[in-house]
Amino acid sequence: MNLSKIFIGAFLVNNILLMRFIGLCSFFGVSTSMDTSVGMSAAVVFVTMLATWVCWMLWHALLLPFGLGFLRTAVFILVIAGLVQFVEMFLKKYVRGLYSAMGIYLPLITTNCAILAVTFLNVDYGFNLLQATVYALGVGAGYSLAIILFAAVRERLEDSPISPSFRGYPIAFVGASLISLAFLGFANLFGVSI
């Protein structure tokens, strides 16, 4: 499977947030400001890469050969929870500034559907380690792109006159609808089908 197709697919055509709806909780919660969005993106990319490698290796070295496939859900999510815990401790000790900026969003990464989804899809699609890495990078990039675009929109929305019922979440969803519509235009780009 062509590596560039995997990347384009994850990044644009099948954008994890806007086309596949995975990772939405954090999407709407974090995108109110550009700073938190950028911070969250970085954290997501980082944790996704680590989680991809650890889970892929665990699957191929341990779960699959010993017929323990049914433990996949539990093992993968525990790995992610552990990694996030580790990242949190690391940041707290060495990059205090980022740690306090991220606040409660850091532990929230554990429940980020996108990361778990990537670890699962790498197995389901039968990727080798290189393909899985590229896929994870593509998803991370796609997540970042979507959330940063959206944060820009939301920051503008703050100052715009919006009718009372629509203020906050409702207009944000309508905005997301329009961005998603734009991304729909990437369908079948370079032959990657949605």
Partner: protein
């Protein structure tokens, strides 16, 4: 002044309208948009998630006295992922069509904010029956929101609800396909939420 303990019934009804997880609290959205392409699929997804929510609420409540605060999150995760895996394999065996449709969203139930949220916010601090009611209420609220969304999307894009044709042929030959695509999902939920705000459902 002593606070009144809310009547038992409150635990159940809170999750349905007043604190509806999807429409008022806006959590657990991932599966909502992806699996609501038709009313039937929405129902299937709600059923699976409800199973996990109710059972994990009950089990967390049962063992809460044995779980120290510092490791409660990993324990919750283990409990929840156990039930997710159970429903995963049960669906694979007995409802393969639904399973294929839900795809990666079945295991994703484990990171559904609603389930972890209720375990932490309620089940860890309340008795078994109350936790059951809370789980049931939230499950019903989740199902309600999902099925409404699924019905709307199916209705506008295909002209049916649960497969029953409800629109004249001229509509069905050129329906509003927009709603079945991702942008449509976002749009409809935005409208629903605006409606909920307008009707002051969360107050």
């Amino acid at each position: 002044m002593t606070a009144q303990r809310p009547s038992r019934l409150r635990y159940l009804t809170n999750g349905i309208i007043k604190e509806n997880p999807v429409l008022i609290l806006m959590i657990g959205l991932c599966p909502v948009l992806a699996t609501s392409t038709s009313a039937r699929d929405a129902l299937g997804m709600s059923a699976a998630a409800s199973f996990v929510l109710i059972f994990s609420n009950v089990v967390v409540s049962l063992v809460r006295k044995f779980v120290q605060p510092s490791i409660r999150i990993p324990i919750f995760i283990i409990i929840i992922s156990t039930f997710v895996t159970i429903i995963d394999y049960v669906l694979q065996a007995y409802q393969p069509a639904l399973y294929r449709m839900l795809g990666v969203f079945v295991p994703l139930i484990v990171v559904n904010c609603i389930i972890l949220g209720r375990a932490e916010a309620f089940a860890y601090g309340h008795g078994v029956f109350d936790s059951f009611l809370d789980g049931l209420g939230n499950a019903l609220g989740f199902t309600l929101a999902l099925v409404i969304l699924g019905s709307l999307r199916e209705f506008f894009a295909v002209g049916t609800i649960f497969g029953k044709t409800l629109t004249p042929a001229w509509y069905r030959s050129a329906p509003m396909l927009f709603t079945i695509f991702p942008p449509g999902a976002f749009f409809i939920i935005g409208i629903l939420k605006a409606l909920a705000v307008r009707l002051k459902l969360g107050k």
